[in-house]
């Protein structure tokens, strides 16, 4: 891990771009300050040697690992692969900000 991280203003802007967020001029320095405070706290994780420790993405994964733990992983049984009705298209399209009833309409992507 990077040592106590120090996020620059440029990095805040780059991350905002990755996240599709437009930050106002006032938000950028505030987010920089907050991210640095939080990342400074997160840097404590460096104190732990985690070499050889498996990464846990879901709760179910680890539970069988300990001896004596007889926990089945959640989602071990999936539903039958059978056709079921989907949501009514009209009801779904009614939620759209702009639609012709069949498609979602958005601003032009390619200028000609």
């Amino acid at each position: 891990m990077a040592d106590v991280a120090s996020v620059t203003l440029d990095e805040v802007l780059r991350v905002a771009e990755l996240a599709n967020l437009d930050l106002t001029a006032e938000e950028v320095p505030r987010m920089q300050r907050d991210l640095n405070a939080i990342l400074g706290h997160i840097a404590q994780l460096n104190e732990l040697d985690t070499s050889g420790v498996p990464a846990m993405a879901q709760v179910g994964e680890l539970l069988g690992e300990m001896e004596g733990a007889r926990i089945e992983s959640a989602g071990a049984t999936l539903r039958a692969d059978a056709l079921l009705p989907s949501l009514d298209r009209k009801a779904v399209m009614e939620s759209a900000p702009e639609s012709d009833g069949r498609f979602f309409k958005v601003p032009k992507v390619i200028e000609r």
Partner: protein
Amino acid sequence: MTIEEVRTGIATRAKTAISVAEEHYARIAAEDGPGGKAINSFLALSRDRALAQAAKIDALAAKGDPLPPLAGVPVGIKDVLTMTGSPATAGSLILKGYMPPYDATAVTRLEAAGAVLLGKLNCDEFAMGSSNENSAYGPVRNPRALDCVPGGSSGGSAAAVAAGFAVASLGTDTGGSIRQPAAFCGVVGVLPTYGRVSRFGLIAFASSLDRVGPFATNVRDAATMLTVLAGQDAKDATSSDRPVGDYVGALAKPVNGLRIGVPAEYFGEGLNPEIRAAIERQLDGLRAAGCEIKKITLPHTRYAIPTYYVIATAEASANLSRFDGVRFGLRAHDVKTLSAMFRETRDQGFGAEVKRRILLGTYALSAGYYDAYYRKAQQVRTLLTRDFLAAFAQVDAIVGPITPTPPWKLGEKTADPLQMYLADIYSVAASLAGICAISVPCGQTASGLPIGVQIMGPHFNEETMLRVALSIETAQA
């Protein structure tokens, strides 16, 4: 009013489901709004749906048919869960007015069990917060102390039950969002084991952590609600097929002989002395009831908050990418390009805390930082979970505080997000490990603020957790 009082009242024709619903709506009208105590717990009322359901229950009672377990029980639903006929805003402007086309499974199950769904409850935006001050629709006040926060993110769900607006409610808990507001408002809140209750229809925050669970005024009602909610759902692949326990039946079993673990790490510096004293009184009570009280250690506890805030924000940054103004919710106007529409929509629609977490999560997942932050946090999550598995090899349940302090004043912590995060110290470890936990009222401070105690149980052993909770509740009387 308890679930049993409502159900028996309707079964004996002493009252009707419609009169019970109207009584609760009248209380909401008098007290929830600015003309009353301005608690601001309800964001929307679903009168038509509630009264139609109440009429069905009354028809069953009139015929003398057996009543379902939640017959006529007025229940509120946290606004991150979908319920047709009512908007689902998740406390965010980006979903203002969004009408969901389907019901969450938890909502379907409650209604099938006879519950009368009163409406949607205020919460922190996308369930991100510990004080309910991040809602785009205004903060919720704590009914037990109107100048204090109700806790978060399920602040409206806790406040509505504490104020008597609903007999029970649904909340969600990602890092403490059921247990902490339950403690702050003096009600019972249950975090079921990960996989125990379906999340279908829950607007996702952090999918490896999000859970749905009940609030109630007492442990028995919480057990009844959990019985209705628990079980596998074909629409949620993370829901477990393990058989659902007999949660209400388990309450009849005495606690004597149970081994109760007391983790040293939960009684360190920073724990309010009045809370410490209240928890110690509960441990004395359990000892007197025949429990064996054992000192245990959960050595990685201090790493739970940094681990949680990496994993939760990383998952949130992915989950919240769906809010782009294309398919539902807010869309920014007067934009020329698609990419400008995404950015403008998200800038206008998301509040500061949501943006902060999206940025943090995006940073932790970005090239060059993934291993250092996200993978590292997942490894520490393993260590934290192993702490609990080792502890539960020696004890049947773990008892400790759920919050380091009593509820704070509205506005007190909003300027410093890290301070707000640190208040989650006793709640996030159970979230990361996937175990079950409950918060039960256990007294109050000298100034009259509620105190809660947390009981944690092994994965899929809600029964033992509920038995200990009932013993503590009984000792308060």
